[in-house]
Assembly symmetry: C3
């Protein structure tokens, strides 16, 4: 794979929340080292320690960013242990994250081979790095050094032969015309995003399928929310590229009592 | 009206919340098409589907932005139905929004004629647009194309003769020296913003008026919070340009049990 | 002290929350006066009116920003009273805030003398300034004028001989090998940040100390969260530079029922 020229555009995806100084401090580190960088927040409200939700969040946003964008993803329950920080080149962009599976979904989008490096060059870190805030002390300064063009990717650290991937995050066939899947995410409106890819089920229509949750079987497919009767749950081909469950002006996740990681069963008739 | 030169300064006002990737993804779309754009968040926490609150939010912020700023406003309960996306030129700035009344208050600030266009040129949209995330697929790429100067406003779509306006958002005379109004918004501190414009009631002073809510009559006017007795409610000429109700270091909306849309009655003595 | 050249990099730390237009409106004021400014949010979710929490937030972020950065800090329970707005030059950066102690911790970092000015030049304010939203009407336009280089710091207002400092925010000796301190902050993860500086207690190790809260005595020191048993509370030398209390994948502040300002006692053995 050709190396991609880093772009001074850096995004942040974390579970730091917005009450504290954490995200702002990372921006200080970046702008002190690369004053012309543009820093964009994807979200700082990924559920605490949820590697799965972080994987979904960066997977949804990254494809819309330009070539060379540098994404920092810090959902890191193992900070301070020996999990490695990594730099990954995939889909013509860069990803800086702990090696804990948070890049699983991005990796599936890469049709060639991702290039994975351990972030090992301590000269790029802040002096006196803490063991608890690698976002500030490790990830931000490395991203800034790449964005500023003052270091080549090879100097960040050695190549790794593979990276951590979350197995359960993909669907699997569990019988004739039947697949086991899971809830990937619940959005702000209460829509439930499943991990069934819309493109893999092109012939879906109302009555042609059953999507079974622990509470209810959904078998209606709608094109839009507008016009849907209030209160009844339906499937739709959401903006995520996955099959989603929603209720017009209602909260599907609350109604169906679904959370990220919950199992689903899809049957075609 | 003279056409205004678009400024590569784009603002976002939505009800998407900050838990998800939505706002970040819109910024990716913008920066991929207009790398030198500056993107500013007004708020992503407008109450879900509240066109009224969105109208208030953009009305408060827009006047402080420079000429040519492009404001994207996505509070869009009708996404996927036949409500039109529109591009409006008013107060020397641009507004991109669904045609559902969310620009009602901005329109009232324009002393000449606003120019309203339907956003109809599908070549400007993202390929394979979803029916549920127009912020990403329609509004963001159109704003970016204008900001980058790669399209003229005329190419966005045909002129419309008018746009949706929320009637009830304005006050009305309901007797001699008496006006019916409503709560426009409740802010983070619990202050209640009414829709009575301070400039229309210049002679207001303590004892010269009664502002009647369902719970209580307020007849005290104060210049500042400092020095106000704790716990008692007063009116003040707030930073919004509207008459507001507050309690020093307390929460007026909770005390008076008021929400956006609730009716108010103002009587002068 | 040499005057530092202002950098067109402006940060915002407020208790305005993110539901309203307030932070966005301040950015409009800044970008209208200094179009090339970069504006960075530190946090807008400082607890309402908590000068103490604001002091901690800006103290943590500022040292990571480049020379000349202009920090606006608006936690301002006295807005509209006669508390002065001030411009402070310290640690090679600028701070614009109400004179209410919110810069106490930053001031302690300055080893020389901070330069303090009253912000008094009304020509720099927005015309028709409100008495309730100085962030928009006073602080933002003054910061933008400095960032744009259209005004010298001397023109902002007269020198002041001192500024408000929060006394109780520092620790004090209360016996042989014993110090009284307090909780500075509770972060998003429930970690408790004390005001005991790690650098002042270099010999701390498990069993060599007792940190007494109202609920429990903590005497374990750990280097990282990883590997700590779930549920038991320990001290660690956090990324803040202060001694912190945490529970691996748990919420220490809830467990110990601690909030900012609560008293602590540290004894060395």
């Amino acid at each position: 794979m050709e190396p991609v020229r880093p772009n001074p555009l850096i995004t942040l995806t974390t579970d730091f929340g917005l009450e504290d100084h954490y995200a702002g401090t990372m921006k200080g580190v970046i702008l002190a080292r690369c004053p012309h960088a543009t820093v964009v927040d994807i979200s700082h409200n990924v559920p605490s320690f949820s590697v799965w939700s972080g994987a979904y969040t960066i997977d949804q946003a990254a494809p819309y960013f330009p070539s060379g964008t540098i994404h920092i993803v810090v959902i890191d329950p193992g900070v301070g242990t020996d999990r490695k920080p990594i730099l990954v080149q995939a889909i013509q962009q860069y990803f800086i994250a702990p090696d804990n599976g948070v890049l699983s979904l991005v990796l599936r989008r890469e049709t060639g081979h991702a290039i994975v490096r351990e972030i090992a060059n301590r000269e790029l870190f802040l002096p006196r790095s803490s063991s608890t805030f690698h976002g500030r002390d490790v990830f931000a300064p490395v991203a800034a050094a790449l964005a500023a063009g003052i270091v080549q990717t090879e100097s960040v650290g050695p190549l790794l032969s593979d990276m951590e991937v979350l197995d359960s995050i993909t669907t699997s066939s569990s019988g004739p015309q039947q697949w086991t899947g899971a809830v990937l995410s619940v959005d702000h409106f209460g829509n439930v995003i499943t991990n069934f890819k819309a493109s893999e089920f092109p012939s879906l229509s109302s009555g042609s399928f059953e999507l079974q949750t622990s509470k209810q079987v959904v078998s209606t497919l709608r094109a839009t929310f507008g016009g849907a009767p209030a209160g009844s749950c339906f499937a739709f081909l959401g903006s995520s590229g996955y099959i989603e469950l929603g209720i017009n002006q209602g909260n599907a996740a609350q109604s169906l009592q679904l959370s990220p990681g919950d199992s689903l069963l899809l049957r075609l008739r």
